[in-house]
């Protein structure tokens, strides 16, 4: 009888703290401290810092060519895009005009990088809602693109400074255009898989994690997250860099702002990227890919005194670098603006309020986050 009596004693309150991450397969190197009542989340507090490598400080101690190598480590999932941000900022400081062919190859590499990043996005979002097949399909198809990167740059994930100040480390290898063509056919296959309206997938994503446009702007959302909330903005169109102003492509926009609309934006963007790639290959000019001065760069090359902020539309949103030089061989200060900084701190904390515990991984991954570019 005594046992029964004990079982009837309930805790006074069903409020408790719940730690999502950092040692959780569904969160990456990042944690969220949740205050929970039953299944409902009362408040959330982001807990970053598990991947903080101090790149901003480290770059003050390194030469631009070494920084090209560091910059691709800012985000593991789209290293080429971050290399481009760094290279553009340095070129603007040094007043360099790079060869035409290099500009086209840069666009091709960055768009391929965007496609593989969006495939990861779809993969981890599927894993977040318990649809493991999607995860495996996405990572399988992503591998075709990684093989291309290995052929072109020498590295699958980290291209080791392929896009460097002054152009590119090396030209396209022989016969790569046919290979890329074949991979693009594979991407269409992947898109077909992504398009299937799995009813379970839809019920877990529609109407959940809704971010209204006004809140999205106030909380600093950019890129696909902002577009899914209804603002037509894309830095590739609004503030064109490289040769993006020569290509025809659409900016996908949706109004709902929920997980499903963010996922659809990712899907549409893969299709647009394929369009850009095809146009880039049609116009690809011949010639050199690096300025002669940078073929064998001198280590005591001075950076002109000045200040520059370069921002690009990378797969996750606005990726930018604010670099200040005082005329020395090393940058005086580098500030990296990662899109996940806003998406993982203010936006995530806001969206998790009032959500269910089961929806935490789905909301988390629907924001297309990367703890690496938040922590830097």
């Amino acid at each position: 009888m005594k046992i029964n009596q004990e079982m009837h004693v309930l805790p006074k309150s069903n409020e408790y703290d719940f730690y999502f991450g950092p040692c959780h397969p569904g969160s990456g190197n990042f944690g969220v401290k949740l205050k929970v009542k039953g299944e409902k989340i009362i408040s959330a507090l982001s807990d970053p810092g598990y991947l903080h490598r101090g790149f901003e400080k480290l770059m003050e101690y390194r030469l631009p060519l070494q920084n090209a190598m560091l910059s691709d480590r800012i985000c593991v999932l789209e290293s080429l895009a971050w290399e481009l941000v760094h290279a553009e900022a340095m070129e603007e400081l040094m007043d360099l005009e790079i060869p035409e062919r290099a500009k086209y190859i840069r666009v091709i590499m960055v768009e391929l990088s965007r496609i593989q990043s969006h495939l990861i996005w779809w993969g981890v979002l599927s894993a977040g809602i318990g649809f493991d097949t999607g995860f495996k399909i996405a990572f399988g198809y992503r591998d075709y693109i990684l093989d291309l990167f290995a052929d072109i740059t020498g590295g699958r994930v980290y291209p080791a400074g392929y896009i460097c100040p002054g152009g590119l480390r090396r030209n396209f290898p022989m016969g790569i255009e046919e290979k890329i063509g074949k991979v693009l056919d594979k991407i269409y296959e992947a898109v077909k898989y992504i398009e299937t309206g799995n009813p379970t997938f839809l019920s877990r994503t529609k109407g959940i994690g809704v971010l209204k446009l006004e809140d999205a702007i106030n909380l600093g959302a950019t890129g696909p997250v902002l577009r899914a909330s209804g603002l037509k903005t894309d830095i590739r169109k609004d503030d064109p860099y490289e040769v993006y102003n020569r290509f025809n492509f659409e900016i996908p926009v949706r109004e709902e702002g929920d997980i499903y609309s963010r996922y659809m934006i990712g899907l549409e963007e893969i299709k647009e990227s394929v369009k850009i790639l095809k146009q880039a290959f049609e116009d690809l000019p011949e010639g050199e890919v690096i300025l002669p001065k940078f073929k064998k760069p001198k280590l005591n090359m001075k950076i002109k005194e000045g200040e520059v902020y370069v921002h690009n539309e990378i797969a996750r949103g606005e990726g930018g670098m604010h670099i200040i030089s005082n005329g020395g061989v090393r940058p005086y200060r580098v500030k990296v603006r990662g899109p996940s900084f806003s998406h993982m701190i203010p936006v995530l904390e806001y969206l998790l309020q009032g959500a269910e515990i089961a929806d935490v991984p789905a909301i988390y991954w629907s924001l297309n986050v990367c703890p690496a570019d938040l922590d830097r």
Partner: protein, 132 residues
């Protein structure tokens, strides 16, 4: 500074990309740059101000750019020790139990700090860090 910021927000610079601080040690000043973007006109605007390095205090821009500004200010409070007046929640983002000076200041030598705090000259494997 806050009046300028208010005017810019009114003119359409509703997106705060980042707050970038640089340490000018010879001038004894911090330069605080607000990187702003207007979705309406597609213009980038950098609002810059200089504040005293030894006693860095500046008004918070949370009333203008909301919670986004809050987290950017938190980061700069942690790395440069700038006190943003009006920010209610200045707690560390990245570091844990940090005892030293603000780590992104120019006079902070991270190599020396790591040697003092975390390495041991007696240890054979770590002796290399003490040789120049």
């Amino acid at each position: 500074m806050l009046d300028w910021a208010k005017w810019l927000k009114y003119e359409g610079f509703i997106h705060l990309s980042a707050i970038s601080v640089s340490d000018w040690i010879e001038e004894k000043k911090y330069k605080v740059a607000y990187l702003l973007w207007s979705f309406k006109d597609n213009i980038l605007f950098v609002l810059t101000t200089k504040i005293d390095r030894e006693n860095p205090v500046i008004d918070s821009v949370i009333p203008l750019w909301g919670n986004n500004a809050q987290s950017h200010e938190r980061e700069n409070w942690e790395f440069f020790g700038i006190n943003f007046k009006g920010n209610p929640n200045l707690i560390p983002l990245f570091t844990e139990n940090w005892q030293g000076p603000p780590p992104f200041r120019k006079d902070f030598d991270w190599q020396e700090y790591v040697r003092d705090k975390h390495y041991n000259i007696e240890n054979k494997r770590e002796r290399g860090y003490y040789e120049d």
